[in-house]
Symmetry: C4
Subunit: 280 residues, 4 copies
């Protein structure tokens, strides 16, 4: 992963996931606020989205683990080399471990949508754990590198642990649009920062960055704040576009609810009852 592509790929995934979360929670919020008072069951449309999302997470994690293992200079599923008394390609194993937890999160998402007895919030908890594990591994990852390299990776931890804390809060504070958008914002920030790390450590063109210069570290710190501003702007734009699209669509179709709702099943009202007893 020690090249530009190795940072661009996870960056793209996190960016996409952030946008997807923004889109999803905006649609859910529009739905909830357009309903009459009381507990609202989300239409089956959202459930199908959960299946697709979970499925893609599992697929991407599986591919990620396989690639890390069976790439040309990968460990090929060997963990310990007894001949040389050394561990084999621990970096690849660590990346695989990170992917594994995002895969687990995908499984929890599908299970959460499929089985109504599962308590609401399991999917957020697993995402929170996945981000915690990512940050946890990165934290020890960074040890003993050049100052700028260590600094730029430790700034990533702000986005990772921020997202983890935000997701964990979502387990307890349900259906709060601000919190959901905050989580999405942390994902977009993480994605764009992965790109920034790629540009700084493996510049596509131009001279290499001096990894020990203090001014470079000052710029990188400030640049992280600009990424925060850009992430907030991107989330705001996405929400606005989704909002106006839905409003125009619903005005032309007559009523958005009719377009999305099919039949509230008896089981989903049972789910709502479960949720209520969990929220107490």
């Amino acid at each position: 992963m020690a090249n530009f592509g190795g940072h661009a790929i996870p960056g793209s995934f996190f960016l996409l996931f952030g946008f997807w979360l923004t889109l999803k929670c905006t649609l859910q919020h529009v739905w909830r606020t357009s309903q009459p008072k009381g507990r609202h069951n989300l239409p089956p449309f959202f459930k199908k989205m959960e299946y697709v999302e979970g499925g893609l997470q599992i697929f991407a994690s599986f591919v990620g683990i396989m690639v890390e293992q069976f790439v040309v200079d990968g460990p090929h599923a060997r963990l310990y080399d007894k001949e040389n008394n050394s561990w084999v390609k621990l970096m690849n194993w660590q990346h695989g471990t990170m992917y594994l937890f995002f895969g687990i999160s995908g499984i929890a998402r599908i299970a959460s949508a499929a089985f109504k007895v599962l308590p609401a919030g399991v999917d957020r908890l697993t995402i929170s754990v996945a981000l915690f594990v990512e940050g946890f591994l990165f934290y020890y990852h960074v040890h003993g590198r050049a100052p700028l390299d260590a600094h730029i990776h430790s700034l990533l931890l702000v986005a990772v642990f921020g997202g983890s804390a935000s997701s964990m809060l979502e387990v307890f504070i349900r259906d709060n649009i601000i919190l959901e958008l905050l989580t999405a914002c942390f994902f977009i920030l993480q994605g764009s920062w992965f790109y920034q790390i790629g540009f700084v450590l493996y510049p596509l063109s131009g001279p290499k960055w001096d990894l020990n210069q203090h001014d470079n570290m000052m710029f990188v710190t400030m640049c992280f704040c600009w990424h925060i501003a850009v992430a907030m702007l991107l989330v705001t734009c996405t929400v606005s576009v989704v909002w106006f699209t839905v409003k125009r669509f619903s005005a032309s179709r007559g009523d958005i609810e009719i377009g999305m709702q099919t039949t509230p099943s008896k089981s989903s009202s049972h789910r709502a009852l479960l949720e209520e007893s969990d929220d107490e």
Copy 2:
């Protein structure tokens, strides 16, 4: 900014903003408690105040960024000097970044007052992010200075991150007068401490402070506590003055509610409904 004025200007702004917040949330609290039971819509008077406040925030941020950029020894919108392979005046850029986020907070405040579909709490979230970014940049700012200089700036972080945490809590715990006054208190503390930094590092008269003496650090630590006490006293006095003024005014005018309320619009009751679904 490395002079007394450079610390007095932001100090004055934070002091004013703290007093303004105290005034605003006291008036809102008086309004809420003087209403009959149930969800109360704030009168349009408060909405206009939000517009003015947001507008001033945007204006001050814009002026601040322009001054930092186009002051005589400023970067003049140049970020990287390719000839000398060095960054241009990063300190000015960092200050500009801080102002940018307070500007964003102003935009969010106006948008929050103008568009009723925006979830309540967006304005508090952006203020919290603005303070976080300020503290974040200061944290790395301080690195490698004289002991007293580093210490006096790190004490500032207590006020900055305290205000950030307090504002973030306000996103989730709405209309809590204690929390709102606590945030205002942190702003006043930050403002008065900026003045203190100016007095210590760039004394207007008398001898320079010894930046390495341990006793000076002990005094500065204690002095910060005195600033806390003074900030609490100032907030208490402001609240008392506002309270008694409103009570006398309302007694002479007959009823304060009549004085402030015009007509509760249909849209604002729609807003209250939105807020309720967010608060769940």
Copy 3:
């Protein structure tokens, strides 16, 4: 304060305050649970206790500050010695600053009981700030001492900041008996640990402790845990004794409520209304 007595006096105060808090919140809890359902107004008996408590806090703080200032080798209200260009007895000034905040907390307690418009929780907030300031000053106090001396004071910070966090939580989570007893427990722990510091640093008899020996630090760490256990035991015993005394008293008198309640004033029901709007 660098002697046994200087640690025994604050220790005794904190022990007494802890027991007093335990007693008070047990009585309030008994009262609340013995009332019929709905918002209960505390009887005037508790309000009088608040006045006494606040008054004692203010008196003790005032005496403490005066003693620190005008003791034989005190600063006598002089802060800076211009002749020697040095600060005068900063340690005494720091202790005075700590007392000041406990005095402010006493004023807030009385004001909170006297004026019904004050939002509930102001008294807890000021206690939390007082403990935070105490811990804040101790934190920088400890710097550059012998290992055991620094360690034993930093353990005190666990009790101080624990109490501060617990009091701060009480601002938002009202009338939770467990939280109130936890705060009381932290005060008792702090008090008994002050005694322990006195015994270790200024032993009344026997040899001096070796301030650099690692085994001594290990013992002191373990000893802190024993103090936690003892504090929990003391709180439990106090609660039990109060509980059984009240129950026997109420059985012999007929009804405890009659014994304590006089007449619920119109104003206190107004207070309850205020509290409800704050708690939202």
Copy 4:
């Protein structure tokens, strides 16, 4: 305790306790969700389980303390050796202190089940304190060891303090199945990690681990994440097995409620009333 067995015994206890917590809170959740709406009183069956659990905790703690004291090379209840001016076997005393707090937690559990006046949450608070004390002692325990030894013990702290924080949250957020399972998960993680520490520091066969090699630390960090995944898997499997067993049992017996409920006593409804006033 400096051998494999000394880590396997506490590991087994924590594993068993984690599984037991998972089993218990799954059964309680099934019970709560199968009841009609409103406050549900748990059947006496659960109360008996609390007695058994508390009794076992007390018994195990007592045995643990006795073994630590009176083992062949133990301190035999002597704390200070006046002849050599040294502390006697502080490590054994520290382990005994940890056991003591788990014993206190057992007493609180029994008292909580026996006396209805005790506020709900006391049992969780004592478990939280017990874990805090364990982590607190381990934190200073680790000081000055070989890098891998220190690292592997500091990873244990993640599980210990995580469990402590999770239990503390349970005091305030009652009957939340996700939080209860999270606590159980932290116990299982702690148990399995104790085994891992045993395997690494005192390998049963094969060569010793190099305690200074950086690759070993990287592997151990990653291995901790695998333990997290395994703990989550074990909790999920246990919950599933319990769930399906209960469902099949309840289908064959007719109704699960009838099988478990005997007679809701008048006193337990009084308890529910107490809980409600605490939760406010």
